[in-house]
Symmetry: C2
Subunit: 220 residues, 2 copies
Amino acid sequence: MTEKSAAPVDNPAGKTRTAVLEKALELFAETGFNGVSMRRIAQEVGINPATLYHHFAHKEDLYEQVLRFAYAEQAAQFSALVSTEGTPLTQLGEFIREFALYIAKDQYFFRMVKREQLERNNERQKILVDLLFGKQYEAMVRSVSRVTQDFDAHMLVTSLLGLVLHHYETRHMRQFFAQYAPSQDDPEIVADHCSRLFFFGIQGEAATLQGADPTTQPLG
Amino acid sequence: MTEKSAAPVDNPAGKTRTAVLEKALELFAETGFNGVSMRRIAQEVGINPATLYHHFAHKEDLYEQVLRFAYAEQAAQFSALVSTEGTPLTQLGEFIREFALYIAKDQYFFRMVKREQLERNNERQKILVDLLFGKQYEAMVRSVSRVTQDFDAHMLVTSLLGLVLHHYETRHMRQFFAQYAPSQDDPEIVADHCSRLFFFGIQGEAATLQGADPTTQPLG
DNA sequence: ATAAACTAACCTAACGTTTGTTTGGGTTAT
DNA sequence: ATAACCCAAACAAACGTTAGGTTAGTTTAT
């Protein structure tokens, strides 16, 4: 009868649990594991702190479940990034574009991944690879292997991802650089830029125009 | 006379202060701002927690001074990365190599930078740019502008840095990938790989060998 | 059909610990 | 003696977590 607290009552099939995971993902991504308290999470969800311990054993457990929740949420879209149509080259070009669009609209997931990279927890990094990146990565290795044998495929995939990702990761910092222009954050433009660089390099198009000597370098 | 605690006594010209900054840098880089307590820092330095407040106003102040300390420590070596000899092209090649070697041996500095990127604190990111990356970045923009006009110089610099950095940032995660080999962490090999990709792209060398069609792509 | 037992979800209140920080006093060099 | 340096002890607040109780819906026994 007493209509005291916010929103108890109804919980059809883990509604509260999902609400917690969603809000916790947001908060953990924003300020990290130690930057968020259980009380804060409970408060923002609108439940009592003690209730968290009905759904999760402890804070670390909640964090890990948030990771798995976030991974599962992305896994489907993520594996769809590698199309099966077209030549290996068009596949790669399409991937670069899809990838750039994908991470541009992402809010929390990639910040969690980045935090995990920083933390260097082997166990969690393995989860990340097994649950999320493993298949995608192997598909990419196959893709690039079909296009060129002049590079280590593993390194080439790492390079390609870094190429695209760094535009996103430095987004907030780049605004303070002299040559910054907002268009440089446009995922379509980023994708186009990265594609050209990845496929041709700065010499592929430029050398023919300038006749600059690309040698005298320890490149081979 | 009383030889009670660890290492008090002598402190010629901010010796304790420097010791705190060094240890705090290590700890902050390892576990982040919220992952380290003032007590922990004091304990590892071998002083009393209260002493920290003689040298620093509060924790946030300590953290900012750690940042400036870390930046100042790197700024000199960092600006030396852009050599003034050789053609613009050899300059860039040399930079890639020096940069790869540089971040490979770094322990704490780049993790701090990465944490700052995650935190998205505008004020601090500006400090980072002004104190550290600004000049270096502009020099690089000039360098790449001299080599090619087919790319947005700002984006090209971002790409180049991401290209190299990502090999370092994913170092701990990549061990779980199928195609991983320890040689892929060797900075010399990373530098060589990145140089080739940056200068020629995957088609610059490969296309002539395979005759693959690089078109049917929205690259131009 | 209805009462009893069970259960999952949530709460209030508090536990003990750790947090950032302060106070107030002491030591050492100038 | 003045200033810089450092410490032991304590502060209030916030922390993760737990014990115990209330509710409401479901199952079981009669």
